[in-house]
Structure formats: C-alpha cells, structure tokens
Amino acid sequence: MKEKVIVDNLHKSYGKLKVLNGINLSVNEGEVVCVIGPSGSGKSTFLRCLNRLETTTGGKIFIDGFEVTNKHTDINKIRENIGMVFQSFNLFSHLTVKKNIMLAPVDLKKMTREQAEKKAFELLKRVGLEDKADYYPHQLSGGQQQRVAIARALAMSPDVMLFDEPTSALDPEMVGEVLAVMKELASAGMTMIVVTHEMGFARDVADRVIFMDDGVILEEGKPKDLFSNPQKMRTIEFLNCVL
C-alpha cells in the first residue's frame, strides 16, 4: 500500500519549550489514524505541522512524496491536497455556506463558478445540509457549521484530511452528526488523521490509534489492542480516566 504521509523525527519547540520530541509515523493511503492523548501532549501541534500551519524546528514531513518541511516547496499547492477541519469550525463569517465551499476551488482556478456551485451542492447533500446553502454560518448550529467546514475542506478534493478535535467545541447532542459524516468519509476510503477525544469513534473507525504524551508517540496499535490491552503505564492511566 502506498504511503501518503511520512513523518521522520519531527521536532518542534517554542523557544525553550519542547512540544514535539521526535515523532515518527507513516500513514498509508486510505488509512484512518486517530491521535489521542492528554491536553498539552502536542497532538494538535503535530497535526498543524503536517500542513505547515506551524513551522517545525527539526525533522521531515513528506505528503504524497512532497517535502512539507522544505522551505522551497510550494506549500500552497500541497495544502490544496490536504483538507483541514478545525475545532472552532472557522467558517468564513462574511460568506454564505455555499460561498464558503466555493471560495477555494474558484479562486484557485480549480473549477469554474458553475462547477464549484454544483460541487458545493453535492457536498452539502453528502453532509446532509443541502437546504442550508444560502445561510450564513452564524445561522447554523455548531454541528451544522462543522459539517459545512468538512464540505468546504472536501471541495478541493483533497486526498488527506486532517481533523483537529472536530467535535470538542460541540454540544454533546451534535457530536454524533459530525462523527457520522467523518465515518462516511472514512468508509469512502479517505486518508484521515484525526486528533480526538472521542474514544468511541477511535475504536470504531480508526485503523490505528496513536497515543501521544509529552511530544512523543508513546504507544500505537489497532484500536482493539490499544484500548483493551495497553502496554505503557501512562496509556493505562489515560485510558482509565477517559473510558
């Protein structure tokens, strides 16, 4: 199977504070990897390094064979193929749902306005919000906004999707609708890296679960192995708290 994402000895520090201390990971095409771990373990920072929203201080990241960490790489081109979904949705508040989705494909000349509009409706249908096309983000619930955010990320037809705690800012009863969309995406073969606190989702959907602590990957494995038979003391402690 083809390797989509390769992370080689990744380091990141803010001044003296070391956030990531040598992360090694490879993710295959179509694989769903969930990253779990306590707050401050560097999960989100790690994810944000993958599309260079954070600059790294050491190590290399390759996505689709392109070196993200190389200064000379055209990061904008690579980002077109990496969708990202944020904890706080970050929908463009001055644009309608439809225009949120159409902005990037039209502006980056990937599609004509008509094609992008058609795509927007397809995607909205996929996330179950085709009737909300002309709404502004603030008129939607958190769960709906996050589904739109997923549709927006999908509009560029990325082949890797990054999710940064996509359900952490949601009311409990809205978590399900977002996870359902993500589940559908996973079963459609999308390569996904998901930072999450939803252990149920990780157990059901992930091909592999990674436990991070103190800026390193402490333990990884198939969900059923990691959840039912964790090896490291720290993992056991963490799982005891959240399960």
Binding site: F86, S88, N90, L108, A153
Partner: protein
C-alpha cells in the same frame, strides 16, 4: 440684521465653498483610503523596512498638527524644490489634497490595522489550509471582515476629514470657511453667516452619517437574512 438678505447674498458664495469642501474631502479621502490601506499592509508585512516606513509615517502625521503639515506642504516644500527648479509652483488645492490625504491616510491606516487584527486568526488559518496564499487570504477573507469592523471608525474619520478641510482655508483653499470669510469681510454679518456655515457642515455630515447607517444596516441585514 436682515437674515433673509444675508441668506440671499451669501448663499451663492457659500454653495461654491460647500462644493469645494465636498470635492476636496472626497478626493482626499479616496487617496487617503488607498494610502491608509497601503500603510496598514506595509505595517503588517514581514519586511522590517516596510514596517518601519509605515510606522514613521503614522508617527509623524499623528504627532504634528495638521495646520503645520499644511504650512510645510504649501509654503515649505515648494521653497525646497525651487532650489533645484525655480519655476516650481504648488497651488493651494494640490497642497490641500496632499495634506488631507496624508492626514486621513495615517489615521485610516490605524483604523484598518485595528479592523484586521479583530479578524479571528482561525479565519486566516482556514483560508491558508485550503491553499490560498497570503494575498488572496487577505483580499477574500480578512479585508471584507475587517471592513465591517472598521466601518464606524472609518466614517468617523471621514467626518473629521470633512471638517478638517476648514483648516486649509488658511492656505487660501476656497472652501466653505474661506468663502464665508470673504463674505463676512464685505458684509460684517458674522452671526448669520457663520450660523449658515455651521448648518452647511451639519447637512453634509448628516448625509454621510445617514448613508453610513444605511450601509451598516445593509451589511448586518445581509448576514442576518434567510433565517
């Protein structure tokens, strides 16, 4: 004091002045907006030199009175140029527009900067993560939202600039105040004339305020419709 007579005599002159005041204000504000946006973006750029230029510009303009700036532009600057080109002349209109534009630009630059920094950082990250470069992110995502935040302060600056045109009457710009002075010089009708001048300013600025209120409502309405 015959108010009606003063009104009839002064009106043609004052209307000329109002036209000049509006004309100078509009031109200066258009240039000032471009200048302000430019200075603001320079101030936010990665280049230390650009940031420095923008900072010095805003600092100097904000730190000196406009009347001094007008004297420097109108009297001082031509004297300097004439050392090299003795035939150089600068008329009061050009000097007035230059002074007002520089002035409005500096203040608007700060207003824009405030508007831009009020836009949530997540908006930028979302745009960048989709592959939009810095410039496109600025134009498509940040500026439209910053504009909404900055609109009330912008209108405030517009009002200040309109009123500041009156300061330029000291360099001989034939604005509303200047025309009023001319009329008062002949007629000695201080009270009636200057009340009329005040009412003209009030009318012009009220129109601007109504327009901005309409604009703010429209922006808000667009975002609140469909619900």
């Amino acid at each position: 004091m015959d108010f009606v007579r003063v009104f009839n005599q002064a009106t043609p002159l004052l209307i000329q002045g109002v036209k000049m005041t509006i004309f100078i204000s509009v031109v200066s504000l258009l240039i000032g907006m471009a200048l302000g946006l430019f200075a603001c973006l320079m101030g936010l750029s990665n280049s230390k030199i650009l940031r420095c230029i923008s900072g010095v510009y805003v600092w100097v303009i904000r730190g000196t009175p406009m009347i001094v700036q007008a004297f420097i532009v109108y009297f001082g600057f031509p004297q300097l140029i004439q050392l090299f080109n003795p035939s150089f002349r600068l008329d009061a209109y050009t000097a007035g527009v230059v002074t007002l534009s520089l002035n409005a630009g500096a203040y608007l630059s700060e207003i824009f900067r405030g508007g831009i920094s009020a836009v949530n950082k997540g908006q930028v990250e979302a745009a960048r993560s989709l592959g939009l470069n810095q410039t496109k992110t600025m134009i498509k995502v940040v500026l439209p939202q910053a504009f909404k935040v900055a609109l009330p302060s912008m209108v405030n600056q517009f009002i200040i600039t309109i009123k500041d045109t009156s300061i330029l009457s000291v360099i001989g710009l034939a604005d509303l105040v200047n025309k009023a002075k001319v009329y008062v010089g002949k007629s000695y009708q201080f009270f009636a004339t200057y009340i009329m001048v005040a009412l003209y300013y009030l009318a012009v600025i009220s129109i601007l305020m109504l327009f901005s209120r309409y604009l703010e409502k429209k922006i808000n309405y667009e975002r609140k419709s469909n619900s």
